[in-house]
């Protein structure tokens, strides 16, 4: 059978990605996920004052800067043994939730559902409704998302001055107190967003929808009213299942969540854990089990994997070798893992997501559905946090650390960004940053092969896939976009030089 290699360039907010796929006929038999952009953030931080990380690292990403800020400040606070008052954690959590909701809505209805408007689906029964909802700049869900995702980062601006890229989380707390005006302004944003979410996205009230707790209940709900079936999530679900997205994109069965949102008892509002896909058991998460491999990456080579505290990021660009990516290959307990809202909600124990996962596995549709489920959960949590702040208006938002500067030492900050597990590992020597290692969610999902030659999660989720039209593999766009990469795919054939674009 004829083998050929196709190349897909992915452009997204956090960087650029490219896939090289080997096809036999219509089946993907090998995949290489190529992180094609090198930026050198970790090198830029070395030698700088520790707090400068609060300014530099949010700028790693245009869509999840709050998450980087939160990771960075936790790492510095761990080094300095600095405690923060509960109101500071509440404000940090509220802002990270607002950023996540913003990202999830944009990913769902600006990036993921646009694929359903591909002319390939013109004969499908839902196609006209799909166009009406999801056609870029014209569909009602696309327009509504542009409008409403614009306002929710206003909550970050209310407490932190601006979104994106502020530095309002500082060791010891946050820079601005909760005031009645800030709380009411934020509630107003949540009220408006919730109303739109209920009317357009789920077609029903938030409370009862969050009470759905099994696959059977969800599918019965979907049939129960036209407003449910024709809501944005209804159309996304029905179209996804009509084209078989509940049977694709599984990848590795191991899932990782660092947990999210520090609570005042020293724990987290969403639990961390490692879901062992072989046993189905959820085990405690321990960051010491993380190691990064560079066997197939363009960095100075070392044997096996290294924990981020011993990690190095020394570029060694070798385009004509069998190394192929600027991404490292992180592994947990020496396993390939995936991360993101599906992992987060499964590990936290959301009953509906658990039921759907047990019924059909961790597929493309469920990954996307879990993201919107999370939006609904966060809308509720944000409201709760604002009520807590209102009840503690006079409590401190900042406690001055005993020392002005961060002392020498090492620390890490782990949280859940919109796309999944995010970690910063920092070492301070002689008052300056001596090592800074970041592992982003996309580094887990998009990792290249490791020193044992095992494919990363995205790579393995594509291998074995059959594409209808190898010259226009829209199936790949669905799978990769369900992980929230904010990308546009373009494809060209290496063997003929003929170029084409996957309809993004």
């Amino acid at each position: 059978m004829a083998r050929r290699i196709i190349q897909i360039d992915l452009n997204r907010v956090e960087g650029d990605l490219e896939f090289q796929l080997e096809l036999e006929g219509r089946e993907v038999v090998d995949a290489r996920c190529i992180g094609s952009l090198y930026r050198g953030f970790e090198q830029i931080l070395i030698g700088r004052k520790p707090k400068d990380a609060l300014v530099i690292t949010p700028r790693i990403c245009g869509i999840c800067g709050t998450a980087h800020l939160y990771s960075a400040v936790l790492a510095l606070e761990q080094i300095g043994r600095i405690a923060v008052p509960p109101n500071a954690s509440r404000i940090r959590n509220l802002c990270l939730m607002a950023e996540t909701v913003q990202s999830d809505l944009r990913q769902s209805f600006l990036f993921f559902t646009a694929d359903f408007c591909h002319p390939k689906y013109a004969g499908r029964p839902l196609y006209e409704k799909t166009l009406g909802a999801f056609l870029p700049f014209k569909g009602w869900a696309h327009r509504g998302t542009l409008e409403h995702s614009r306002h929710v980062p206003g909550i970050v601006a209310i407490f932190g001055g601006q979104w994106p890229h502020s530095s309002y989380m500082v060791p010891g707390g946050v820079t601005a107190p909760p005031t009645s005006r800030r709380i009411l302004d934020s509630l107003s944003i949540i009220n408006n967003l919730t109303r739109w979410f209920e009317q357009a996205v789920i077609g029903t009230d938030l409370g009862p929808w969050l009470e759905l707790e099994s696959a059977d209940q969800l599918f019965a709900w979907l049939e129960a009213a036209d407003t449910h079936a024709n809501s944005a999530i209804g159309l996304m679900t029905r179209m996804s299942r009509d084209i078989g997205l509940h049977r694709s994109g599984f990848g590795t069965s191991h899932m990782l969540s660092c947990g999210a949102y520090c609570d005042s008892a020293g724990g987290q509002m969403f639990k961390s854990g490692f879901l062992d896909g072989d046993t189905g058991k959820i085990e405690p998460f321990d960051q010491a089990e993380i190691a990064e491999h560079v066997r197939y990456s363009w960095f100075e080579p070392y044997e096996g994997g290294r924990h981020p505290f011993r990690g190095e990021t020394i570029p060694d660009f070798q385009p004509h070798s069998n190394r192929y990516s600027w991404s490292k290959a992180p592994r947990y307990r020496n396993e390939v893992v995936q991360t993101g809202p599906l992992a987060e909600l499964l590990i936290d124990g959301d009953p509906l997501i658990g039921s759907l996962y047990r019924a059909e596995g961790g597929n493309t549709w469920l990954r996307q559905f879990a993201r919107l489920r999370r939006t609904a959960l966060l809308l509720q949590k944000m409201r709760e946090i604002l009520h807590e702040l209102a009840a503690h208006l006079d409590d401190p938002h900042f406690t001055s650390p005993a020392a002005d500067e961060i002392p020498d030492g090492e620390g890490f900050g782990l949280i859940t960004a919109a796309r999944g597990a995010l970690g910063h590992w920092v070492q301070v020597t002689d008052g300056a940053i001596s090592r800074y290692q970041v592992i982003t969610p996309t580094a887990w999902n998009a990792s290249p092969k490791d020193s044992e030659g095992r494919h990363g999660h995205w790579e393995s989720s594509l291998i074995g896939l059959t594409v209808d039209d190898p010259d226009d593999p829209v199936e790949i766009g669905h799978i990769i976009r369900s992980h929230d990469p904010c990308l546009v795919c373009t494809v060209h054939l290496l063997d003929t030089g003929k170029r084409m674009t996957v309809w993004p």
Partner: protein, 297 residues
């Protein structure tokens, strides 16, 4: 992502009301296959008109001058930008990275980054200082990290509707870069009477101790609020000077360097001796409500 937050005008308004047709935007475009490559080829063959070319991100010239730290289809984006630049009526650098190099060009500049027509403060980046677009304009720098959403959409609306667009010495549109971040900051009364904070989380001015560059940075942060709500300095975060060519400064970003009790970098254009005299008198004149920090910023 910043531009999606623009509300005056919004991105949708640019399409609906200003006749702007987005040929390609990597995060939003959803066109039939082959569109981007066909577009680029058509533009390079002068078959497709390119009115405004917007570039985000610094131009990576490494490793070894190849530009391959940032490739597109095996070639460098650096060379693609150079070719497209010859075809556009206007070239707009969106953000400090594209304008001046930005964070990526901070020491040790690991990827050999530059801005499009500036390398930090120095004229001439990827394109020489004398370069002009087809409409006769230099690269228009809408700097900021990120660029202010409404500064981006207003600049595009001005170009699309033919409103005059005057540029400053760094080729930034004067409408957005002729006032300082300090102007409109709600901590100004504290600054006026020399009530300066030395710890985070308080209400006073951040200029003397906490690294705030508001009095030396041109931007609209306090005259056109972020997300329609606030600004960093209002929320107690120092201005880091992110619209300036030397952002990020190669020094502690949360500490003001001083000579004696007074910052080394004074508000733009101010004489040191006069400023010292003014500040010592100012503190004497401070009313109780300012000294006691009774006002919320």
């Amino acid at each position: 992502m910043s531009i999606l937050c623009a509300d005056s005008p919004s991105l949708e308004e640019l399409l609906d009301q200003y006749g702007i047709d987005i040929l390609w935007q990597p995060s939003l475009s959803s066109e039939p296959k082959g569109k981007l490559d066909a577009l680029i080829e058509a533009i390079l063959r002068d078959e497709q008109r390119l009115d405004i070319l917007c570039i985000e991100g610094s131009i990576m010239t490494g490793p070894n001058g190849s530009g391959l730290y940032d490739p597109y289809r095996g070639r460098s984006k650096m060379s693609l930008v150079r070719e497209l630049a010859e075809k556009c009526r206007y070239l707009v650098a969106m953000g400090t990275c594209a304008a001046f190099g930005g964070v990526h060009a901070a020491p040790p500049n690991p990827t050999d980054c530059t801005g499009i027509q500036f390398d930090k403060k120095l004229p001439g980046g990827l394109l020489p200082a004398e370069w002009r677009s087809r409409a006769g304009a230099p690269v228009i720098n809408v700097s900021g990290c990120p660029a202010h959403p409404n500064a981006m959409t207003k600049t595009l609306a001005m170009l699309a509707s033919g409103l005059p667009l005057e540029l400053d010495h760094l080729n930034r549109p004067k409408d957005f870069f002729n006032s300082l971040v300090h102007q409109g900051c709600t901590r100004n009364e504290y600054h006026e009477y020399d009530v300066e904070d030395s710890a985070f989380g308080e209400k006073g001015c951040l200029f003397f101790n906490l690294g705030c560059q508001g009095p030396t940075t041109h931007a609209i942060c306090n005259t056109e609020l972020w997300n329609g709500r606030s600004s960093k300095t209002r929320a107690g975060v120092p201005c880091f000077g992110c619209t300036s060519p030397d952002f990020p400064l190669d020094q502690d970003l949360f500490r003001t360097e001083k000579i004696g009790a007074v910052p080394i970098n004074l508000p733009l254009g101010v004489e040191r001796a006069n400023y010292m005299a003014y500040k010592s008198l100012a503190h004497e004149a401070a009313p109780e409500r300012v000294l006691n920090k009774e006002m919320d910023p």
